[in-house]
């Protein structure tokens, strides 16, 4: 049956390309494998030629497939399931890419695309290692191609196709509107009824979603290169791969690290998680391969310079890539459903995802164990005064820290396998922090001192002399931070606070010592300072994390106005242990919040990005500064009510003030109430619905209210106090202004949070001083928002550290590539 308006051709081409890429990558794998077995044989060249042609076809399929999917999304072809479920017509153009990688299919395509790019660089540069390394990469491409197949083989679904049609997936079964009344089949013109897609999750409608996934996936994809070199080395029993693999591993660590921290920046800047890192399983799953990879880079360096640690280098590179595959399994299988804020569903691909891990793990492990004895290792042990010894300790600590994190993250897997019911601890973040803080101490100290050791052996006097100055500087700086920094995070006891101070010293030490090493050790040769710069960056990251986390303060403590009710009702201590962090703001009513008076001025709906921006004005009580922040909310798309909040932050060099909306209410009821007149004398009490009002005194022409009346008027104001049932007090001053004998202006006053309007009608009896007062209790509440305000000190050190670290990695990649060309061995 033909349906009107469907565009089937692009999908058919895409599907065909998918199958072609599967075959081509298989051919490339076999041809490269053959070539790798035929070292120095004349046949090798012809196998490599065949393999390259196959890889070219494969790359062509991947790139064109990528382009077709983008074409479908940008042309809103909702007859395709992927387009229908991940995009809609209202999206801005820049978010169309975000739609692309929102789903599993798109993210696998992205991964595969990066493999192609990396593959071509390797074909160009890897020379004698091409065959072995490209065998592994082509095989990975084959595995990813099976994920994108979306066909049934003997009732077993293999992969999920990005070009599957909506109508074949049973989307319309439940919707009678699409059915032909007579036959019950799908209407021929169903597309005319399908007006729009279900859209991109609003949480993801963000520029970070456009740039973060490509970087992260390049990081993931590039971890295969050191793995592939190690694997090829095991196949060839040749360990010279450790040299060309080193710049690749550094590149991978730089990009993966950047990708992970971009995710952190995204969480901090645009998602209302209230921070940049929460030890969420999804975050952990991408951090751990980075830790093991960095450990691998360091053991690789040891091997290149001293001949030690080759076996560990193999192990670390293998584990890093397998952990990337494992993290793919964790995040895409839906197994984390109950422990992660990131929701993923089980797409019925778990078996395939497990297989993806195992097809790399088992052969690599098998070859590693089989060849373990033949991998050269030096029997004589390292000197305690050698660089390799301390680097090795550091790598080991990094590696074990990674293993501990991933073991803990894997509890849902453990539950599934053993049928247990273990859940995360009460304070999940602390359970990670209390361990990792000591890792930070050890790693900080090691990165600080290790460069001052030389390989093989170091003269004690040399070491002592060089390390002295940086140590003294670091002690002074960190003592200053400890003493004057007000770091008194005492929620977890004095032991933990001590650990924080210790870690701050270690981190500062690492920054100072590595920066100093550029002059003391390298004599200012910046070109060779990649490692030092990366270490400085890492140290800055640690400093930023330690200070911003231990000094994060909540500014929106509900201590005024509305919160009195909270205290009265629940007692001073919150039984849930969770701080009352939300403050309520009424429109245009300044509210007291610690150092600031904050006012919710107005809100505007921007039709272009469909966001509602709130203008929140901050006025420091000492009068030194005034600024406005514009946090916004975006309404959930079809199928969701409510909204998703995007924070806003006021940046200072030393801190951020960070605001996000937690709820808002709009006044849409009509104001139908009218004034009721009461009579009262000074000192009398009047009752209203939610409390009472005391008339304190009458003021004539008060100076404080000069702005409300003009010079030729005579003004009379009533000084009154509104006291609500729950004990809050508000001052109100309604008044009248008289001009001449008969011109009278009424100057009512309001208590916005009580929806109470009070006006001074007239003097009822001038003899005994009775006044007539009008009281109006409006049924409608005013516009209000609740928001949370945090202060993150020194957060910028963290971001600066990330940038410095990436620059350091880039410098050492450049330096090593140059040394590869020169062919010299040592780069330290």
């Amino acid at each position: 049956m033909n349906y009107i308006g469907e565009h089937l051709l692009p999908g058919q081409i895409g599907h065909f390309l998918g199958i072609l890429s599967l075959i081509a990558s298989l051919v490339a794998t076999i041809a490269y494998f053959k070539a790798s077995r035929l070292q120095l044989s004349p046949d090798q060249a012809s196998w490599i030629r065949l393999a390259r042609v196959a890889f070219l076809i494969e790359s062509f399929c991947v790139v064109i497939g990528f382009a077709i999917l983008y074409y479908l999304i940008s042309n809103h072809m909702f007859e395709y399931k992927y387009v229908f479920t991940h995009s809609d017509k209202s999206l801005q153009t820049e978010y169309l890419f975000a739609c692309f990688w929102e789903g599993m299919e798109g993210s696998f395509m992205l991964w595969s695309f990066w493999h192609c790019v990396l593959g071509w660089i390797l074909i160009w540069k890897a020379k004698e290692w091409e065959a072995g390394v490209m065998t592994v990469i082509s095989f990975a491409q084959f595995c990813i191609a099976t994920m994108l197949l979306g066909i049934y083989v003997f009732d077993v679904k293999i992969g999920i196709g990005p070009f599957i049609l909506s109508r074949t997936e049973g989307f319309f079964d439940m919707a009678p509107i699409f059915k032909d009344i007579n036959t019950g089949a799908l209407r021929q013109d169903y597309l005319t009824l399908l007006k729009d897609g279900t859209g991109l999750n609003v949480l993801l409608q963000n520029y970070w979603m456009v740039i973060h996934p490509p970087v992260l996936f390049l990081g993931f994809a590039s971890t295969i290169v050191p793995f592939a070199y190690a694997f090829a080395g095991l196949m060839k029993k040749d360990h010279s791969w450790t040299k060309p693999a080193l710049p690749w591993a550094s590149f991978s660590a730089a990009v993966l690290g950047l990708g992970v921290m971009m995710g952190a920046a995204w969480a901090y800047e645009s998602l209302s998680f209230g921070g940049y890192w929460a030890w969420d399983p999804v975050e952990n799953a991408s951090l751990v391969p980075w830790l093991t990879l960095v450990a691998g880079i360091h053991t690789n360096l040891i091997y290149r310079n001293s001949g030690y640690s080759l076996r560990t280098t193999y192990l670390f590179y293998i584990v890093s890539f397998v952990l990337v595959l494992y993290s793919t399994f964790l995040t895409k299988s839906g197994i984390l459903g109950d422990t992660s804020v990131h929701s993923f569903t089980d797409l019925g691909m778990n078996f395939q995802l497990i297989l993806f891990v195992l097809v790399f793990l088992i052969p690599a492990l098998f070859l590693y164990i089989k060849n373990y004895k033949s991998i050269p290792a030096i029997q004589k042990e390292e000197s305690t005064y050698s660089r390799e010894f301390w680097i090795f300790i550091g790598s080991l600590v990094l590696f074990l820290a990674g293993i501990v994190i991933i073991a803990k993250t894997s509890t849902p897997v453990f539950n599934k396998v053993f049928g247990s019911k273990i859940a995360p601890p009460e304070d999940a973040e602390f359970s990670y922090n209390q361990i990792q803080i000591f890792v930070a101490v050890v790693i900080g100290l090691l990165t600080a001192v290790t460069q001052y050791f030389k390989y093989k052996d170091t003269a004690k006097e040399y070491f002592g002399k060089k390390i002295l100055v940086p140590t003294v500087i670091a002690v002074v700086i960190s003592l200053c931070i400890s003493v004057f920094g007000n770091i008194n995070y005492d929620k977890k006891g004095p032991g933990y606070l001590f650990a924080i101070h210790l870690a701050i010293f270690a981190a500062v030490y690492s920054v100072v010592a590595n920066a100093a090493y550029i002059w003391l050790g390298l004599k200012g040769k910046i070109k060779a300072a990649g490692a030092s710069v990366a270490h400085v960056g890492f140290g800055l990251v640690l400093v930023g994390i330690l200070i911003s986390s231990s000094k994060k303060t909540v500014l929106s403590w509900n201590t005024t106005g509305v919160s009195v009710l909270q205290a009265a009702e629940k007692g001073s201590k919150n039984p849930a242990g969770d701080p009352a962090e939300n403050i309520t703001l009424f429109k245009r009513m300044p509210t007291d919040m610690g150092k600031f008076m904050v006012t919710y001025e107005k809100d505007t709906l921007n039709p272009a990005d469909r966001k509602r921006y709130f203008e929140i004005n901050f006025k420091a009580k000492d009068g030194k500064e005034t600024f406005s922040l514009y946090p916004d909310v975006i309404k959930q798309n079809k199928g969701g009510e409510g909204f998703s909040a995007n924070p806003a932050a006021q940046h200072y060099w030393y801190k951020d003030i960070f605001v996000y909306i937690t709820s808002f209410q709009e006044n849409n009821r009509e104001d139908t109430a009218s004034f009721h007149s009461r009579e009262a004398k000074v000192g009398d009490t009047l009752y209203y619905g939610n409390g009472f009002i005391v008339l304190n005194k009458v003021e004539k022409n008060p100076e404080a209210l000069k702005s409300k009346y003009s010079d030729d008027e005579t003004a009379v104001f009533l000084d009154m106090s509104v006291i609500t049932k729950d004990g809050r007090r508000y001052a109100v001053k309604p008044g009248i202004a008289l001009k001449g004998a008969d011109q009278l202006r009424n100057l009512p006053d309001t208590v916005v949070s009580q929806s109470l309007v009070i006006q001074f009608n007239k003097v009822a009896d001038s003899v005994n001083g009775t006044l007539e007062i009008g009281i109006k209790e409006s049924g409608a509440i005013t516009d209000l928002i609740t928001l949370k305000v945090y202060e993150f000190p020194m957060i910028n050190i963290l971001w600066l550290g990330v940038v410095v670290m990436v620059i350091g990695f880039a410098m050492s990649v450049y330096q090593r590539i140059k040394s590869l060309k020169r062919g010299d061995l040592r780069v330290s």
């Binding site: 804020v341 509305v562 309520t584 609740t786």
Partner: protein, 136 residues
């Protein structure tokens, strides 16, 4: 014994100690009935919101107080008190993971994880539900 071996052993021992120490902190997933028996113990509940019962949240009165009734897959229910703002889209959520402890007659909730159908983008059922809105 080589120095490296000793360090290796120390590190591995440290890692094991760390992993064991975790088990002390770990909590469990419970049903409402079993959580009631372990009153005061920190547990995780997987529940749904009982939409027949009122959800109490009024930002004017108190932006940090919400209460509702939760019902689990065995049909038991309990009043939940959450001292925070109401999570967006909570009514839409098909499943909630509540972290907290039973105190007297109610569950003092410390954290709520939402499993929203709108996030389940690849779930055909959710997509079917969305269809209705797409056509209007």
């Amino acid at each position: 014994m080589k120095k490296t071996h000793i360090i290796l052993l120390v590190c591995i021992a440290a890692a094991i100690v760390v992993l064991i120490s975790y088990t002390g902190d770990l909590t469990t997933y419970e049903t409402i009935a079993s959580a009631r028996q372990k009153e005061g113990k920190f547990v995780n509940l997987i529940v749904k919101m009982d939409k027949g019962q009122p959800l109490e949240y009024d930002a004017v009165k108190n932006p940090n107080y919400m209460s509702f009734t939760a019902v689990d897959s065995l049909g038991n229910n309990i009043k939940v008190v959450y001292h925070n703002n109401k999570p967006t889209d909570m009514e839409k959520s098909e499943r909630l993971v509540l972290k907290g402890r039973v105190q007297g007659d109610h569950f003092e909730c410390k954290d709520i994880l939402l499993k929203c159908p709108s996030k389940y983008k690849d779930d055909p059922k959710a997509a079917q539900k969305n269809l209705q809105q797409s056509t209007s």
